[in-house]
């Protein structure tokens, strides 16, 4: 296929600005999707994506398009997620493209991930087409949005295309702009094969399905493919494109985006950033490779039923096949038994993994309070990384502890500046920069990561009536006065409830945590004492009084079945309880560490 007839682009934006809806329109307009059969956000094909109305994974689709110039083009569209947890998905998608549609919601304006994704697109050297979406909304401010695109992003505002992805207004212009403004992919079909792996997933029948962008040469079934980073050679079994279903084709050639299968067993063997070449006629210089997605947040996952440990391992193995950002290693807890310490990109990622494990694999899980990864420098001068509070060495062996910091962008209307600064202060934020953008501000802060993973975003949204947006990137490790807060039930420490936090916050948190636990731990046959302690110093104490009565007094004319059903209902309620020593603790108790 002639390179001049190919266009490869991603759709990027802040969360919910309408990427997937625009993708729907593009599919319909090019005839890739029968509009009668179409559902909204058709590319969001995972159950969880559909339920939550968000995109989690990138989705690639190949569209045939007859342009106004009468020529047939092939457009390769990649829809990307907007949530900050999944920006890794965005950046690897961009590597397969020459252009990006940067969508901005006309009612919201430029937001934090708009800027973040704009920078990602710039770094990837892409041609950016600004698109102003949702112009059908009564509160749409097209001119204001144009101005922001010019002022904040420095793009030519006249280039922005106003559209309504919902109604289809302006979408034909978007297609023409793709043809005219985005350059065709570079490449030489006659050169040795050089293909970039930008994603992959595991299919139980075909093994690993690798998403590739062909930079040079051609690939077809039967070829010997060499994976240059690890030297492995595979025979290519199938090549094809996404329509969005997988459709085999004869050949993929320079400039094209598609997939190949080659009997690869593990996703880890064909990593993102890998260079695939012809084993018999290899290319000379491979791609530089790609950084792995790095987990930022860690938590213990334990099955409520001890016997489900192996099932949990199998389930994590399976999820990991398609989610390389998820890491896990086995660990044991005195309180919870055998489980796994898992690493996630953020809390949304963690919730999604937990939900999938419970739903798709029928597991009932306890998730311990999420923690960031600390660097502990010991008195002996060694550095150890700690992502599990219970692994923190005794205070006497620690020289100092460093915690991860992030640089964060907050976008908001000026009227919310005060509460935002207050929130930032409460979260140990350090102000870095302030930029006025008409009626809005862009504030840069440095935050300890631990302060923003849990409830920062929700609080930011609520103090700004939903108008503030937020994005962050890892910055550095910095020494910090953090301590370990322990929780004791009837005198016994519960390792899974320990948290590492800043000394200034320990007292308040300990109190809140003890109160929260009192509320969620049900009354038992005996009194339960809850203590929060730093080292041997108890800083808060609460008591769950013993239950006084639990009895079915009457029996209804021998209706034993009814009585048993009542008992079974009680028993159902106890299913999610974990026995810690003699104390029964509900699953929520572990989450309350997170929420208090």
């Amino acid at each position: 296929m002639a390179l001049s007839r190919i266009r490869n682009f991603s759709i990027v934006a802040h969360i919910d600005h309408g990427k997937s809806t625009l993708a729907d329109r593009l599919l319909a307009l090019t005839g890739a999707m029968d509009p009668k059969k179409a559902v909204d956000q058709v590319l969001d094909s995972m159950d969880l994506e559909r339920e939550r109305g968000i995109t989690i994974k990138q989705h690639t689709v190949c569209l045939p398009y007859r342009a106004r110039d009468g020529q047939e083009y092939t457009l390769n569209l990649i829809d990307t997620p907007g949530h900050v947890d999944f920006s890794y998905e965005v950046s690897r998608s961009l590597a397969a493209c020459e252009g990006a549609l940067l969508i901005v919601d006309a009612a919201q304006g430029v937001e934090a991930q708009t800027l973040a994704n704009f920078y990602l697109s710039l770094e990837a050297n892409l041609t950016i087409i600004p698109v102003i979406n949702k112009i059908d909304l009564p509160q749409a401010d097209v001119e204001g949005t144009r101005r922001q695109i010019a002022e904040i992003l420095g793009l030519d505002a006249d280039d922005a295309i106003p559209i309504s992805a919902k109604l289809g207004t302006g979408v034909p212009e978007v297609l023409e702009a793709i043809i005219h403004r985005i350059p065709p992919p570079p490449g030489d079909p006659a050169a040795p094969l050089k293909a970039l792996v930008f994603d992959s997933f595991y299919d139980p029948y075909q093994g690993v399905v690798v998403y590739v962008k062909i930079f040079d040469g051609r690939v077809r079934a039967g070829m010997s493919a060499l994976l240059m980073s690890n030297g492995r050679v595979y025979e290519v079994q199938q090549v094809g494109v996404f329509t969005p279903e997988m459709r085999p084709v004869e050949e993929l050639s320079a400039g094209q985006v598609g997939y190949l299968t080659a009997g690869i067993k593990r996703v880890a063997d064909a990593k993102v950033g890998e260079t695939i070449t012809d084993a018999n006629r290899p290319t000379v210089v491979p791609f530089p490779g790609y950084r792995d997605a790095k987990p930022m947040v860690f938590a213990g996952l334990y099955p409520v039923e001890d016997t489900a440990y192996q099932s949990l391992r199998d389930a994590l193995d399976k999820l990991h096949l398609n989610d390389s950002a998820l890491t896990f290693e086995s660990e044991t807890s005195l309180a919870l038994g055998y489980g796994f310490r898992c690493g996630f990109l953020g809390l949304l990622h963690m919730e999604i993994v937990q939900e999938r494990l419970e739903r798709e694999f029928g597991l009932t899980l306890i998730v311990t309070s999420p923690s960031v990864r600390y660097r502990v420098v010991t008195a002996a001068g060694e550095t150890v990384e700690i992502d599990n509070p219970s692994k923190l060495p005794p205070a006497g062996e620690i020289d100092h502890i460093e915690e991860p910091l992030v640089r964060a962008s907050v976008f908001a209307p000026t009227e919310f500046m005060n509460p935002i600064y207050r929130l930032a202060q409460d979260k140990r934020g350090e102000h870095r920069a302030l930029e006025y953008l008409g009626k809005r501000v862009h504030i840069t802060f440095d935050f300890p990561l631990s302060e923003i993973i849990v409830d920062f975003y929700d609080r930011l949204k609520s103090i700004s009536k939903g108008y503030a947006s937020f994005d962050y990137d890892f910055l550095e490790f910095r020494p910090s006065d953090v301590v370990k807060l322990d929780i004791l039930l009837n005198g016994d420490p519960v390792d899974a409830l320990s948290v590492i936090l800043h000394r200034d916050k320990a007292y308040e948190k300990g109190k809140a945590l003890a109160e929260k636990l009192r509320a969620v731990i049900p009354r038992q046959l005996f009194e339960v004492a809850i203590q929060a302690a730093i080292g041997s110093r108890v800083i808060a104490r609460e008591t769950v009084k013993a239950i006084r009565k639990n009895v079915t007094a009457k029996c209804y004319g021998g209706d034993i079945t009814r009585k048993r059903k009542l008992l079974e209902k009680q028993k159902e309620g106890k299913k999610r309880m974990k026995q810690l020593g003699k104390v029964e603790v509900p699953q929520e108790a572990f989450l309350s560490v997170l929420r208090s």
Binding site: R548, K549, V551, T552, A553, K571
Partner: protein
Amino acid sequence: MTPLAWSPRQRGPLGLYLHIPFCRQRCHYCSFNTGPYRPAAMDRFLAALLREIDLVGEAEWAGDVAIGTVFFGGGTPSLLEADELETILDRLRKRLAVAPAAEVSVECNPESLSRDKAEGYRLAGVNRLSLGVQSLDDDLLARLGRLHSSQEAGRAFEAARAAGFDNVSVDLMYGLPDLDLARWERTVREILAWSPEHLSAYALTLDEGSRWAGEGVAGLADEETVTAQYWALARLAREAGYEHYEISNYARPGFRSRHNQVYWRAEEYLAFGPGACGFLGDVRYGNVKPVERYCALLEAGHLPLGSHEVLTPAQRTAEKVILGLRLSDGVPLAGLEDRRPLIDTWQSLGLLEVAGDRCRLTEAGFLLSDSLFVELLPAHS
């Protein structure tokens, strides 16, 4: 599937429960299967009940297996005239092997029990009355929706005695709205002064289907108060020489309710009347609940079976333990071998006692019994 196809495990005496599904007025706390009393409806029901007895009487075992206890419950069984009750009992004796020494009990409401009626019942073969007194506080009785005063309750008790009943039980309720501990103790003392042979006392529960559960009720007692009332009753009854032989039941020696013990020992019993529950072999069954439907089925010559479940051996074993632990006699330890840690915990908390080869709940354990029973349910039921 009908009870006729199921046969009793035991050849020994069965219990027999009859449900009389009418009341003059529904009490506000009541969720039982009962409807408004109308003479015509009662007549139709009685005809159907006799029909049901006839049908069950066709079972091949009907003539051989002794009936050891008969219990008329409701509803308000004392709405039955003595001759109506006699007709039912006669039919039972004709179709089934009712033992000559069977315990025959009737639940009575004070306002519908006259001395004449009591005498008629006794002549018909009833040998035990259970009187629904509930409270001796006239304000409370009115709030509960009862149709009698405390004075009428006393008179009804005397009527039972005068008619020659030497086995009378009294039903009481505690944990009632605005009932304080002192008033409850006075009530219990007064009742004990009547010297009934048997006493049942239930803490108020707001069961689904009752008026109070639907509309809510003010002044409900807190857990502390209900617990204190339980202990006051236990103490006063003990001092007066009663045995606390089941969670909610007290009796003078020799006067435990034989019928109720059939339930707690997981023995078998037959059921008659709408919504009545029975247990035969491995099967727990219940009749259809609406009176109209009950009658219509019998008029068409069908048994009025509504639902049934076949217990697995594990369920049967578990039920035997759970029900047995409601009794002060407890259960053999042998059935609890694999639950040793649980038993030890309960013992160490003073909720359970082990004596010889049996174990039983203490009075403190009775109060928390559901917490233990939940643990004793079979794993996957």
